[in-house]
Assembly symmetry: none
């Protein structure tokens, strides 16, 4: 079990932890099961991670970082439709690429404890802020409907989170592009025609 690269060993444990957390949820996930899945000894775990919560936090932080990088600001000077679709496509891509982590993000990390709730809220707030600014820009140009940009941002995020939650948790059989189109259509036009 000896000379693996240190970074590789971290990844190994991280991947095992991700799978166990996704399968069992945070509290039902036992260190024992994680190290068994990673094929390392109990003590090795603590060589690479502070504690159970620490590794969970790292999984979430990495996912947030990946997600953050998938999102880019919309430039209102250029055609927006493709930019928005690309954003949606990248977000959906990142989340569907690693469903275990997505389940952790959208399910296990929710309501874990006040500290974690804050972390989640902060991340969504950051995304919301970017979205809000884009919406405000768009409103100035008349390509976004008037209304409280913050609320619109929250609603848009909620819609996306839910569809991805359902796809992840229920294995709703939808192709990525289908999801992207549905989200885009919904955000752009809603669905009521009364």
């Amino acid at each position: 079990m000896a000379q693996i690269d240190k970074a590789e060993r971290r990844q190994q444990i991280l991947a095992a932890a991700r799978d166990v957390f996704a399968k069992r949820g945070y509290h039902a996930a036992k260190i024992d099961e994680i190290v068994a899945a990673a094929g390392v000894a109990r003590g090795t775990f603590y060589l690479y991670f502070e504690d159970k919560r620490g590794i969970f936090e790292e999984i979430v932080d990495r996912a947030f970082a990946r997600l953050g990088m998938a999102i880019t600001r919309v430039d209102p000077a250029a055609p927006v439709e493709d930019q928005i679709k690309d954003n949606i496509r990248r977000i959906v891509g990142v989340l569907l690429e690693d469903k275990a982590t997505t389940k952790i993000l959208l399910s296990d990390a929710v309501g874990l404890d006040p500290g974690f709730d804050r972390k989640l809220l902060v991340f969504y707030e950051e995304v919301g802020k970017l979205l809000r600014e884009s919406l405000t820009d768009g409103q100035a140009l008349g390509i976004v409907a008037p209304g409280d940009a913050q609320i619109l941002a929250v609603l848009a995020m909620g819609a996306m989170k839910e569809i991805l939650y359902q796809v992840t948790m229920r294995d709703l059989a939808l192709g990525e592009e289908e999801i992207v189109e549905a989200i885009y259509g919904f955000l752009s036009r809603g669905f009521l025609r009364v």
Copy 2:
């Protein structure tokens, strides 16, 4: 402590549990704190409830029941706008009326364990089914945009859940009617005008 009605005693404990669960989250909520808040002895708790998970489940079940009763089917023969707004208004009303329970529903109950995840999924699926049917009816009448009704239903629920989650967790200062209008506007027209 003598002459309290049995049902009243249940309520007392239930309310205490709800507050503690909302304040601490499921795992950090200790039976000790619940019984202290309810002003009963430890053993008394188990006279009224099977176990910790049992009382939590009852809180969630009651909330779901209340929520279910707030939702009524839209009759496409009559003017739909008011019917939809009424539905939204009732749902928002129920959830904002008891924020502790709403926090439990939208945060603590999420990712608790596979069994609970299923319960949540089932409830949202039931709501989604009703919504889907209404949407399908609407599509037949041309008052709902075409598209996969199931996805539309999921997106609509996600948007509503998120705004209420934010209002509950962040104390976003929004009036009920404001929320109702924002949701309705979003569902009906989206926000892009490109």
Copy 3:
């Protein structure tokens, strides 16, 4: 195992802990052995005591309190010999009466950790202060040899501690009165006659 008086239950556990600590030393004493000796369940221990260190500290504190009460100030106006002998007799009596606790005091509590070292030092300093004052009084009356009263106090305490340590740890077969006389003789006259 039920309805014993709460104070009695504390005593029961305290006595068991004292025996185990005395037999094994602080670190080798396991909670398991203490509760087994006390005939209670693991959890019961924590119902009565904060933690392992807490019960140890209580044992030491109680011993110090008992010891403190055995010591009285010497009144230089009255004949001092009997007063001193009485003090020595009471101290020796208290320590030989419960050898397990004495072993804990003179052996296990020593060098446990910086916090405990301080507690010990503080206690001995208090005793030393009383002794020092008595010695200073005595020096004024010419019944105590001149010299740094603090050093004399320390030396006197050391002599007493050591003889009791040896009696406790080695079962040196000495009667109480023998010990008292030896200490008194030593303190009063030393042993060199050159």
Copy 4:
């Protein structure tokens, strides 16, 4: 790290261990901190010492050896006062010269475990035996007060240990000669003049 003498490397580790043991106490001293202080790798430690207890034992054994060599038998044919003072002076000198080790001896090694208690007892008994014989000789010559020589030996050692313990642990500001004189005065004449 290459060309260091094997014996030198041992010394290096031994010195580091001594400092860490003195600073933290036996149990709070971690191998990690010792090897870090010594500037060697974890495994290297075990190349030079059996285990943690082994190195601790060696520190104590060496200290006892040094101490043993400082003590010489008093020849009753020659003037004893200087011989005794020289003995005290040498003992005090050895102990104050390396306060870290003295703290280990008088504090950390006490009550470590039954095995160590025995080692301490044996050493003090050996010293006590030598002292007892000197005292018995002295009693035959009338230069030592009558009384149980063993008890007198124990009392004398206790007095010395305590003053050195206090000087070491409390940084009692006393010069060596002051200490020597105080001890000698105390042993020779006690302090009561009633």
